[in-house]
């Protein structure tokens, strides 16, 4: 039975499930993580005399000539390499980020032009803290699923900002992923359905002209991250009639190692289901790219028939939950571009001084 307002789509009775009338999936995906790594021990050396624990081991730092535009282009090219479609078939280029290089002027036009998708495209930048990328993916699902477009490109990418000495400086990192959304018959993974849970919860924000974000300390935990992530995951599983045990892999937004591990446990997912997509310990929190990058690591090794749950989290606040079923096409496409683990292994350790220079943190006032 269909629900009014869903226009013949095969959504559920409650109407909460987001699912287009035609099945769509991921045709190509691409990860990108910059080369440089700042160990957490470097941050504690500078700010706490080496005292205290660290939420991760090390984080990825962008080079002097990298930003969300260049990194998005890298990831998009990887997605195109896997999909093997002509860029001119793409009808939308959407980039979700907290670190768009311009306040006014789209990142997405730069990316669209660079990959050869322009000019017959929709282009736009998305902002919803760390779920801007997954929001753009859901929009692409709708665009393709409605028949308006054959292919749409959604990217979540960040060069996150952490105030020097703040707890978030340990984790604020750079990286992300691109997803080429297209018809199910050409997909390496098909969306079973998605769901979004959003409230007005001010846990983390950055005002105009501010260099660094502010956050509500412990308020970012229970009422923010955990409430939204578990609500979104639970609702999606309810709508699909699925249980944690039905999924081979689960990927959660990962601001540090502890938080997604606990969310997984609260929901009933085990370590074996989450470890493939849990990259934050060696990459850092890549914000709008976080859960999307975790998903590329899963797609790199997933076998046909596997089921995957991805749950993003964006401060402000909301979570997008997506369920995917891997198809036979995954095998031929996995090797067509560098894997996520290859990017993680490509590393050059830098010290805090170099990091301060690369990130423009040296300011005399």
């Amino acid at each position: 039975m269909t629900t009014p307002g869903n226009n013949g789509g095969h959504t559920t009775e409650s109407g909460r499930l987001l699912k287009p009338s035609a099945d769509v999936g991921i045709v190509g995906y691409g990860a990108y993580v910059p080369r440089y790594r700042l160990p957490a021990s470097e941050i504690s050396r500078v700010w706490t005399g080496g005292q205290g624990g660290a939420p991760i081991t090390e984080k990825a730092v962008p080079g002097l000539d990298e930003d969300v535009a260049t990194m998005s282009i890298e990831a998009a090219r990887n997605a195109l390499a896997r999909a093997q479609i002509a860029p001119s078939q793409i009808r939308a280029v959407w980039v979700g980020s907290e670190s768009h290089p311009y306040a006014v002027k789209p990142t997405s036009t730069i990316v669209g032009e660079a990959i050869g998708a322009a000019p017959h495209i929709l282009a736009g930048d998305w902002e919803f803290a760390c779920k801007a990328g997954s929001e753009a993916m859901q929009a692409a699902i709708g665009l393709v699923g409605s028949g308006m477009a054959a292919y749409a490109l959604s990217i979540g990418m960040d060069t996150a900002q952490g105030r020097p000495g703040d707890a978030l400086e340990y984790t604020a990192a750079a990286g992300g992923a691109a997803y080429l959304i297209g018809p199910a018959e050409n997909s390496l993974a098909v969306f079973e359905g998605t769901y979004s849970y959003v409230t007005d919860t001010p846990d983390f924000w950055r005002r105009p002209h501010e260099t660094y974000p502010s956050h509500g300390d412990r308020f970012t935990g229970e009422p923010a991250y955990f409430h939204h992530v578990t609500s979104a995951a639970t609702a999606l599983m309810e709508e699909l009639g699925a249980e944690p045990g039905d999924f081979d892999y689960a990927v959660f937004h990962q601001p540090n190692v502890k938080v997604p591990t606990r969310a997984a446990k609260m929901l009933g997912f085990g370590k074996a289901q989450i470890e493939t997509g849990l990259l934050v310990g060696v990459v850092g929190n890549v914000y709008a790219g976080s859960s999307l990058l975790g998903l590329t690591a899963v797609l790199d090794i997933a076998q046909p028939g596997s089921r995957v749950l991805m749950v993003s989290y964006g401060s402000g606040a909301g979570s997008d939950a997506m369920a995917l079923r891997i198809t036979d096409r995954v095998t031929e496409r996995q090797g067509r571009a560098p894997t996520t683990q290859a990017y993680i292994a490509r590393r050059e350790v830098i010290d805090y001084a170099t990091y301060a220079r690369y990130r423009g943190k040296l300011q005399m006032r």
Binding site: Q51, G52, G53, S214, H215, G216, D217, R218, F219, P223
Partner: protein
């Protein structure tokens, strides 16, 4: 002065009540206290609060809360002495009833800490110190407590481990208190391994700030009451002050205000420290618990850690303290803390403390200290 009884008590859990305002918390505690007392009207309201203006942009609490609890028109005022505000409000309520000015009074302590984040809260808390001679120079409560603790350890040759028992006892007692902020017990060795806040003060020396409200209803003795529980007599109520800045004290390891107010209270009640069966003290830091025990005559100078080391402060010990978790584990609800102490003492004296019950409690004492000892308020309760 006539006798004053406590005829009703109420409290909210202490914690991070992000979705509840100052008024929400106040209403919950007052409703519980009225229900317990079996009345719904009083002649006057006294509110203890330290930071509503700074953190909730709300002053003028007397009018606000009397209206919120349905008592528009009554006499109402706020008392402030940093985190001794709650105890001070009880003292004001006691004076009002004892003097005959009013027949009944409601005393409420309420604090809302979590509407702002860490640094803003810290800055507000510093205002309870001497702004000219401490705050301006970057001193914080924790930094000054650390100086006192270090000096104490040096002066008396006391090791860090000697302070562990205070936190372990607090957490053990909070575990069975449904209104406590923390319900975890401390593993052996956890105290020594705790992250430093300002050495030697660690995370397990310092009490956590939490939102909360606690209330007591006072009535002149002899007034017929309908409460199910027997009324308790306030046998002593005493406030004393010391220099606000720690640096101005000839002996910084002696809490003169705590000593003076306890001494006045013993005299009023006609008792000696050895008569006290339960002592709810102001353990904002373990060093403050140690100094309070010495100032109030429960330990000789330099021996304030001994009751903890020798296991005397537990529920079955010689001198049970922090019987529901104290500031350390029930949580430090700022200007409400002094009322939590008295609510908990009332439960002990009534025999309604459940798993936290101390046996044969006849006399209970509560001491609420402002900052590092600028104000100290001592109350002694007895069964009426």
């Amino acid at each position: 002065m006539r006798e004053v009884n406590i005829i009703g008590i109420g409290q909210t859990p202490v914690g991070e009540h992000w979705d509840r305002s100052l008024s929400d918390l106040a209403r919950e505690a007052v409703e519980a206290a009225f229900l317990d007392a079996g009345i719904s009207r009083v002649d006057a309201l006294f509110v203890g609060n330290m930071l509503a203006g700074e953190l909730s942009h709300q002053e003028h609490l007397g009018a606000l809360i009397s209206d919120q609890i349905g008592l528009r028109g009554i006499e109402a005022a706020r008392a402030e002495a940093s985190d001794a505000s709650g105890g001070l409000a009880l003292r004001q309520g006691y004076i009002a009833v004892a003097s005959g000015a009013v027949e009944t009074a409601l005393v409420l302590g309420v604090e809302k800490f979590t509407d702002v984040v860490g640094n803003a809260r810290l800055a507000a808390l510093v205002a309870g110190l001497d702004a000219e001679y401490e705050g301006t120079h970057g001193a914080t409560l924790t930094a000054l407590a650390a100086l006192l603790m270090r000096r104490y350890m040096h002066e008396y040759g006391v090791e860090l481990e000697a302070f562990a028992g205070f936190s372990e006892n607090a957490h053990a007692n909070a575990a069975s208190n449904p209104n406590a902020m923390f319900h975890n017990t401390l593993r052996p060795g956890a105290f020594a391994a705790a992250p430093a806040v300002a050495p030697p003060v660690s995370l397990f020396d310092a009490a956590p700030e939490g939102d909360g409200a606690a209330a007591v209803v006072l009535a002149a003795a002899g007034r017929a009451v309908e409460s199910a529980s027997p009324p308790l007599r306030i046998a002593a109520s005493a406030v004393a002050t010391d220099t606000l800045a720690v640096q101005d004290r000839p002996d910084p390891l002696f809490l003169a205000a705590a000593n003076l107010s306890a001494g006045r209270a013993y005299e009023q009640a006609g008792i000696a420290p050895s008569d006290v069966d339960v002592f709810e003290l102001h353990d904002s830091y373990t060093i403050m618990a140690v100094l309070a025990l010495e100032a109030c005559g429960f330990a000789r100078r330099g021996e304030g850690t001994r009751p903890a080391v020798e296991g005397e402060i537990g529920l079955a010990g010689q001198l049970p303290i922090a019987t529901f978790g104290g500031l350390k584990a029930r949580g430090h609800a700022g200007g409400a803390t002094g009322l939590y102490q008295v609510v908990e003492l009332t439960l002990q004296l009534r025999g309604e403390a459940g798993r936290n019950q101390v046996e044969d409690v006849r006399i209970g004492m509560a001491q609420n200290v402002g900052g590092l000892g600028g104000t100290a308020v001592t109350h002694i309760l007895e069964r009426a």
